[in-house]
Symmetry: C2
Subunit: 117 residues, 2 copies
DNA sequence: CACATCCGTAAGTCCAGACTTACCGTAAGC
DNA sequence: GCTTACGGTAAGTCTGGACTTACGGATGTG
């Protein structure tokens, strides 16, 4: 649930391959493992990590387990990214605007108090 | 530059602490390393990884190096997240809307062919 | 010039975690 | 019932990478 778990889950290439293989469709463990270069137990362990991170949902169908992408985990990560980089993106935009303003030769239009520092 | 590098860079807790310490201000290596529980060379190595991922910009000031957050690396990651989870989020929204429609007791308003499967 | 400060790099250690094989529980088919 | 597919778990191996200390290059100061 915490964004740290989401990032850790997304950090592994095999787990990202699993996610790519689940775009738009659900699949059983055997179907997920088939195209991957690792054993099925390894896939089971990855599916555990991804589920714990809120990136996958499971559904039972007889003896099979059908996995699908879940939107739960992503919102946490996206929220962290937004708060973390809002300053950098704002200052970046401010600089771009400043460059543009400087190019148009306008004087200073009062202080915008963007960065009170 | 690739989003894989960005995720790998964000996966380490010490590197996330470095990023948190750089919110809204730039700092030298010694200033960044001071509150952290690891040695300064370790911080230098982390700064390398973060810079390679496009998450930091460097500026030289005499013998010091001033690091600051950079918006470059984040856009790649965000683009991947958006494409990866657009389906899941859309189907999630579609389900929510379907539930809402069902609750309003409206009959079927023709087939919306959302999921042609 | 000598000396101190700042910081990147080299080399080596050590551990989390991504793998493997082996095993067991469960559900369906005969 | 027995047997077979499916898949989660246990236990052990091994490698990437996060650390350390030691060193050297670059810049500023007396």
């Amino acid at each position: 649930m915490h964004y740290e778990c989401v990032i850790a889950a997304l950090a592994d290439p095999t787990r990202r391959s699993i996610l790519e293989g689940l775009r738009g469709r659900e699949a059983s463990v055997a179907e997920i493992a088939a195209p991957l270069p690792v054993s099925r137990p390894a896939v089971s362990q990855h599916l555990r990590v991804l589920s714990d991170a809120g990136l996958l949902d499971v559904r039972r169908d007889g003896t099979r387990r059908l996995y699908r992408l879940s939107p739960r985990g992503i919102s946490d990560l996206r929220a962290w990214l937004d708060t973390m980089w809002s300053d950098a993106l704002q200052s970046f935009a401010a600089e771009a605007e400043a460059r543009h303003t400087a190019k148009t030769r306008r004087g200073n239009a009062s202080k915008t108090k963007d960065t009170p520092e």
